[in-house]
Structures are given as C-alpha cells and as structure tokens.
C-alpha cells in the first residue's frame, strides 16, 4: 500500500478555490470539513428552535425566564475570554514564543473547564427546580442544544490538553503550527455557536 501523502491536489474542486487563488486555509482542510459539519449540525438545531418557537410561543416566552441568566452570561464571558486567549496563543507561536503560547493555552483550557463546571452547576440547579427535558417544548430544545454544546466544549478541552503536550514536545514553531491553528479554528467555532445559542435560550422572550 502506498502510504505517501498525495503531492498534487485531488483536482475535485474548481481551481478558483485553490489556496493560490482564493487565499490561505487556516489550519488544514480536514479541520474545516469538521467545522463545516458541526456548523450544519448546529444549523439544524437552530432551524428546529425557530420552528418550535413558532409553534409554541408561550413555552418559548416563559422558558428563558426560568433558566439561570447569570449562568448563561457567565459562560458567554468565559468562552469569549477563551477565544481571546487561544488567539493570543496563535500570535505567540508565530513569534516563536512557546512559553507564552503555552501559558495562553493553559488559560484557554482553564476557561473550558470553568465553562463545563458552570454548565454542570446550571444543569443541577435546573434539576432542583424540577425542570426536565420533557417539562416543556422550550426545555426539550434547551437541553438538546446546550448538552450538545457542552460535549463539544468537553472534547475540545481535551484537544487543548493534547496540543499543550505536543507544544512541550516541540511539535510547533513559528514555521509549522498548523495543528495548533486547526485547534484554534475549532475552538472559535464552538465560541461562535454559543454566541448564537445564548440570545436564543437566555435573552429573547
């Protein structure tokens, strides 16, 4: 079996999509396949939300008043900060400053863990208030969206840990850091999804 990576492009996309003509692809193509798949998945959730809200306006008007806005805001601020930290990690690896890059990655990981902690507390608080997935149409959508997002933050946090390990082993430098950049893209995507989820489930009534 030929295990050599392909040297020439596959030629399945129009030449106008090539990096030479359309611009640089941050990270690498596989992570963008993943990101676009995730965006499709969340897109389906958002469409489901709007259909459910149209059909059950009462449940979606009362729902956001029942959940903890404080937990929602806190998690939004945490994820925005984590996006800032991972962007700073990218800046520092380009300067070949691995120490600072690692420090920013640890801050990103801390934000991810904090998010998971706040979300777990929120789920527990909901449980104590008697809210279940079947409490109302709002809560069905709420749990479906937020728990799914929770899982994404969970495995992305594990990926941050892996990237820190690789950074310490000298895998990334100012010249070659596509793996780190791929993770940064994925992490920003998770943040973007929360930016959309937050107003839908916590702000709009």
């Amino acid at each position: 079996m030929n295990s050599e990576p392909p040297k020439a492009p596959l030629g399945i996309f129009p030449s106008s999509w090539s990096e030479q003509r359309a611009g640089r692809i941050p990270g690498h193509i596989p992570i963008w396949v993943g990101i676009l798949s995730e965006l499709t998945e969340f897109g389906i959730f958002f469409v489901a939300y709007f259909i459910a809200k149209y059909n059950y306006p009462e449940a979606f008007s009362q729902g956001p008043q029942s959940v903890s806005t404080l937990a929602g805001v806190t998690n939004t601020l945490i994820l925005l900060s984590s996006s800032y930290f991972i962007a700073k990690a990218m800046i520092n690896i380009r300067l070949d400053n691995r120490v600072k890059c690692e420090a920013y990655l640890w801050l990103t990981l801390a934000c991810g863990c904090l998010y998971l902690l706040v979300k777990t507390g929120e789920f527990y608080w909901n449980h104590q208030q008697g809210f279940r997935t079947s409490s109302s149409q709002f809560f069905t959508v709420y749990y479906y969206m937020t728990f799914n997002h929770f899982l994404h933050v969970g495995w992305a946090a594990c990926a941050v840990l892996w990237v820190i390990f690789r950074l310490r082993r000298g895998a990334y430098s100012a010249k070659e850091h596509s793996g780190l950049e791929a993770l940064a893209m994925y992490w920003h995507m998770i943040d973007l999804m929360w930016i959309l989820i937050f107003p839908l489930l916590y702000v709009l009534r």
């Binding site: 149209y54 893209m185 930016i195």
Partner: protein, 84 residues
C-alpha cells in the same frame, strides 16, 4: 508589547455587547426592537470573531464567505420570526 492592542479592544467590545444584550433581555419585555437589536449585535459579535480572532479577513475567500453568511443568516431568522 502593546498593552491594549486590537485583540484586547475586540475582547472588551465583545464582553460589552454581551452585557448590553443581557441588560436588554432583562429590562425590557420582548419587543420587535429588542429582538432586532439583539440579532444585529449577535451578527456583529460573530463577524468580529470571524475577522479578528479566526483571522479569516485575509484568509481563504470562500471559507470567509461561508462563515460570514452563516453568522448573518441565523441571527436574521430572529428578525424574521419577530414579524411572523
């Protein structure tokens, strides 16, 4: 090193918009104006992250277009559903 560069400006702007959105949601009952304001600020936040944190502003044209279209389309549905 600049103590307060473009990245820091973006970070604090995003935090400010988040707090403003929450204030709108908490202080005012749901109205078309609040929904439109929230939708527009969500769009702005998304585009800021795409351009400045993801750095897609100077990257692949079609990835940038896809990401921007996504972050314009879904918040627009908030405005559309307000008038249904």
């Amino acid at each position: 090193m600049k103590p307060f560069g473009k990245m820091e400006y973006c970070w604090w702007t995003l935090i400010g918009i988040t707090l403003f959105n929450t204030f709108l949601g908490e202080q005012f009952s749901s109205s078309a104006l609040v929904s439109i304001l929230v939708a527009l600020t969500v769009m702005f936040k998304g585009l800021m992250i795409i351009d400045h944190f993801m750095e897609l502003r100077h990257a692949h044209r079609y990835l940038r277009l896809m990401m921007r279209a996504y972050l314009i389309f879904f918040p627009s549905l908030i405005i559309v559903t307000t008038f249904l």
